[in-house]
C-alpha cells in the first residue's frame, strides 16, 4: 500500500537523459573535441618525449638543485629528491614517471588557468558564487570514476581524456581558494585602493591578488595533489604512466609490482607537494 504511494511517479529516466545529453554534446561539439584530442594529444606526447630525451641523471640533479635552493639551502629535500628519483629509475619506471609527470603538469596548469579566473569571478559576484559553489561541490563529491565515461565519449582513450577527467576533479580547490583568498583581503586595504582611485583591474592586480597569493598557492597545491591522485584512475581509460602499472598489477594480483609503482607515485607526490609549498612560504617572508 505504502509502496504504491512511492511508486506513484514512475522511475525518472535520469540515466537516459544523461546519456542523451552526453551524446548530444559529443555530436554537437565533435568539431571541437576532435582537434583538441589530436593537437593536445600530440602536444602531450611532444612534452613527454622531450622529457625522455633528457638523460635521467640531469633531471635528478636539476630537481635536487632546485630543491636545495627553494628550501633555503637545506639538504633534506634535495637528498630526498635525488634518492627518490634514482629509486624510480632503478626500478625501471623512469619512462612511466615522465608520462605521469606530464599528465599531472598539464592537468594542473589547465586547472590553474581555468580555476583562478573562475575564482576571481566568484569573489566579485554574489550571483556567480551562488551558482558556482554547488557545481564545485558536485564536481568534488561525484566519484572520480564517473568522469571517465564522458571523457572517453568526448576524447576516446589515452592521455587527453585523462587530463580532462583530472581537470574536472582537480580544479575546485583552486577556484575555492582563489575566491576565499580574495574575499579575505582586509576591507581596509580594499577601501584604501578604492579611495586612491583604483580601477577594478588595478585593485585586483595591485592589491587583491598579491594579498591573496598565499591562499591561492595553497589551493594550487591541493589541485596538483588531486591531479596526481587521478593518475591511477585515469589509467583505466588508457592514460599511460605509473598509474597503468598499478592498475595492471591490480588486475594480475601482483603485490610486488603494485607496491613499487605505488612508491613511485608517492615519491613524485612528496616532491611536487614540497616544491609548491616552499615556493609559497618563501614569498611570504
Amino acid at each position: 500500500m505504502l509502496d504504491k504511494l512511492l511508486d506513484f511517479i514512475p522511475e525518472i529516466p535520469i540515466a537516459d537523459w544523461t546519456k542523451e545529453f552526453t551524446k548530444d554534446i559529443t555530436d554537437t561539439f565533435a568539431f571541437l573535441f576532435e582537434p583538441i584530442k589530436e593537437h593536445f594529444g600530440n602536444f602531450m606526447e611532444f612534452v613527454s618525449d622531450n622529457l625522455m630525451l633528457v638523460p635521467p641523471l640531469i633531471i635528478m640533479l636539476v630537481v635536487a638543485l632546485i630543491a636545495f635552493f627553494i628550501t633555503g639551502k637545506k639538504l633534506g629535500l634535495a637528498v630526498f629528491s635525488f634518492v627518490g628519483l634514482w629509486l624510480v629509475y632503478n626500478q625501471g619506471l623512469w619512462e612511466h614517471l615522465m608520462d605521469t609527470f606530464t599528465l599531472v603538469l598539464l592537468a594542473s596548469l589547465l586547472s590553474v588557468i581555468i580555476g583562478v579566473p573562475v575564482g576571481i569571478l566568484m569573489s566579485k559576484s554574489r550571483i556567480a558564487e551562488a551558482i558556482i559553489k554547488p557545481i564545485l561541490d558536485f564536481m568534488q563529491t561525484m566519484p572520480a570514476f564517473v568522469y571517465l565515461i564522458p571523457a572517453v565519449a568526448f576524447f576516446g582513450i589515452g592521455m587527453v581524456p585523462g587530463v580532462f577527467a583530472s581537470l574536472i576533479f582537480a580544479t575546485p580547490p583552486t577556484v575555492r581558494f582563489t575566491n576565499l583568498g580574495i574575499r579575505q583581503v582586509s576591507k581596509e586595504l580594499v577601501e584604501a585602493s578604492e579611495a586612491f582611485g583604483s580601477t577594478g583591474m588595478q585593485k585586483l592586480f595591485k592589491v587583491e591578488l598579491p594579498m591573496a597569493k598565499s591562499t591561492i598557492m595553497a589551493g594550487i597545491n591541493q589541485t596538483v595533489m588531486l591531479a596526481l591522485s587521478m593518475v591511477v584512475i585515469a589509467s583505466m581509460i588508457g592514460a599511460p604512466g605509473l598509474g597503468r602499472e598499478v592498475l595492471s598489477a591490480l588486475q594480475r594480483a601482483e603485490v610486488g609490482t603494485g607496491f613499487v609503482a605505488g612508491i613511485g607515485i608517492v615519491i613524485l607526490a612528496i616532491i611536487i607537494d614540497r616544491f609548491t609549498q616552499s615556493a609559497n612560504e618563501k614569498k611570504d617572508e
Binding site: E188, E191, F196
Partner: protein, 399 residues
C-alpha cells in the same frame, strides 16, 4: 566658496532605505526605525560645509555614524540621499570615471589601522596613488620620496610596513595620502590606534604640516581632547545626526544639548583653557603720569592692595603695593619709580591653565597676562580655581 559641502547627506543600511527615510521624516528615532523596518540609519541628514585650509573634526562615539559619514564624502559608501559638493561639483551624481578622478586628484584618505599594503615597500606604498594614475616611475618615486621626507621617513624607503612601529606606519599612511598632493585629506580615526604619547606627537606634526601645506583636513575621532587640539571647527555626531557644529570654545562653553554636555564634562579643562579665557581687565596706573597719591586713590576705590603699573604704550612695568604707596605719600615722593616692584609673574595669553595654576599657587599677588610685553589682563587665584572646577562663567570674549 567652501571646498566641501554636504547637504542633507543620509545613509540607510538595509533592504528598504527609502521607507526608513520617510520614517525619519516623521521624527522616529534610529532605534525605532531599526525595530520597525530592520534598516539601520547610518547617517541622518548631515549638512555642513568645510572651508579650504580648515581642519574640520567630526567627532562622536562609536556607532555614531562618523566613519560612515567620512566614507560618504568620497563615496566609498554610496549615499542614500543628499549631495556632496566638492569645489562646487556634485560628487553624488558623478559617473565612475569622474569619481575616480576626484579620488585621485582631490581627496586622499588616511585609515585608522593604516591600511598599508604589506607586500609593498614603504616607497611603493607612498607611490600607490600616483602609480594608479600611471605617473612615470621616476616622477612618482621622486614625489613619494618627498612626501616621506616630509613626514620624517626619508630613511626607510626600502623597508616593509611591518618592520616599522605603529606611529611610523601611520606616517607612511599620511605620506601616501600627501604624495597625490590632494586638496582634501580625509582622516578616519587616523591616530586612534596609536599610543597616547605618539598620538600627541602626530597631532602636533599634523598641525605643523597643515600650517605649511594648507590642506583642508576632515578628521574623524572619538576623542574630544584630540578634536579640541586639532579642530578649527568640530561637528559632534550622535545616532547618525550632527548635533552641534562650532569652534572648540563654542562647544566647550555652550554645549548645544545634554549629549554634548556629557561629552564635554569629561574633558580636562585645564588642558583646553588658557590664560586668555580667565583673565580679567586689569586696574592700572600710568607711570609717566601718575604718582603715589593716584595709586593709593585707585586702590582704595577698587578695594585692592596692589596695582599694576604700565607706561603710555601699556607696556607692563611692574606693580606698587598700598603700603609702599602710603609711605611714599608721607615722604612726599612724586615719582613711582622709587616704589616700583618688578617681581611680578608674567604669562602669555596662550599659557595653559595647568601652568598658571603652578605659578599662581606660590604667588600672593595676581599674575599678569602679557602679549608682546603689553599688558593684556590679570589673573587672580580665585579665577583659576573656579575654571578648574568647571565653572562655566569663563570669559570667552577675551579669546
Amino acid at each position: 566658496m567652501p571646498i566641501i559641502e554636504a547637504k542633507n547627506l543620509s545613509k540607510v543600511f538595509g533592504k528598504n532605505p527609502k521607507q526608513a527615510l520617510k520614517l525619519l521624516d516623521q521624527g522616529l528615532s534610529k532605534n525605532e526605525i531599526l525595530k520597525q523596518t530592520g534598516n539601520t540609519v547610518g547617517v541622518n541628514r548631515a549638512s555642513f560645509s568645510v572651508e579650504a585650509g580648515e581642519i574640520f573634526v567630526i567627532m562622536g562615539l562609536s556607532g555614531s555614524g562618523k566613519s560612515t559619514l567620512v566614507r560618504l564624502l568620497n563615496r566609498l559608501i554610496e549615499p542614500t540621499e543628499g549631495s556632496i559638493l566638492i569645489d562646487g561639483e556634485d560628487l553624488s551624481n558623478m559617473d565612475k570615471k569622474d569619481l575616480r578622478n576626484v579620488r585621485r586628484k582631490k581627496m586622499s584618505m588616511v585609515f585608522q589601522r593604516f591600511a598599508l599594503f604589506p607586500h609593498r615597500s614603504i616607497l611603493e606604498n607612498a607611490e600607490f596613488g600616483l602609480e594608479i594614475q600611471n605617473v612615470p616611475k621616476e616622477e612618482r618615486q621622486e614625489k613619494a620620496t618627498e612626501a616621506l621626507q616630509m613626514v620624517g621617513l626619508g630613511g626607510y624607503l626600502e623597508q616593509k610596513p611591518d618592520q616599522l612601529s605603529g606611529g611610523m606606519q601611520q606616517r607612511v599612511g599620511l605620506a601616501r595620502a600627501l604624495a597625490n598632493d590632494p586638496e582634501v585629506l580625509l582622516m578616519d580615526e587616523a591616530f586612534s590606534a596609536l599610543d597616547p604619547l605618539i598620538r600627541k606627537e602626530m597631532q602636533d606634526e599634523l598641525i605643523d604640516l597643515q600650517a605649511t601645506m594648507k590642506k583642508t583636513i576632515i578628521f574623524i575621532t572619538h576623542d574630544l581632547d584630540e578634536a579640541l587640539r586639532l579642530g578649527d571647527r568640530i561637528a559632534l555626531m550622535k545616532d547618525g545626526s550632527i548635533v552641534q557644529i562650532g569652534t572648540p570654545e563654542e562647544i566647550l562653553v555652550n554645549p548645544a544639548n545634554d549629549y554634548v554636555e556629557k561629552f564635554v564634562e569629561d574633558v580636562d579643562r585645564s588642558k583646553i583653557l588658557t590664560a586668555s579665557h580667565i583673565m580679567k581687565r586689569p586696574e592700572t596706573i600710568n607711570i609717566e603720569r601718575h604718582g603715589p597719591r593716584v595709586a593709593l586713590e585707585r586702590m582704595r576705590e577698587e578695594g585692592i592692595s596692589s596695582i599694576l603699573v604700565v607706561d603710555s604704550k601699556r607696556n607692563l612695568k611692574g606693580y606698587v603695593t598700598a603700603d609702599d604707596a602710603s609711605s611714599a605719600k608721607k615722604e612726599d615722593t612724586r615719582d613711582l619709580h622709587a616704589i616700583l616692584r618688578t617681581d611680578i609673574k608674567r604669562v602669555e595669553k596662550d599659557t595653559s591653565m595647568n601652568e598658571i595654576f603652578n605659578i599662581i599657587n606660590g604667588s600672593p599677588i595676581p599674575v599678569a597676562v602679557v602679549e608682546d610685553e603689553k599688558l593684556a589682563g590679570i589673573i587672580v587665584r580665585g579665577a583659576v580655581i573656579a575654571a578648574l572646577a568647571g565653572d562655566s562663567e569663563v570669559n570667552l570674549d577675551n579669546a
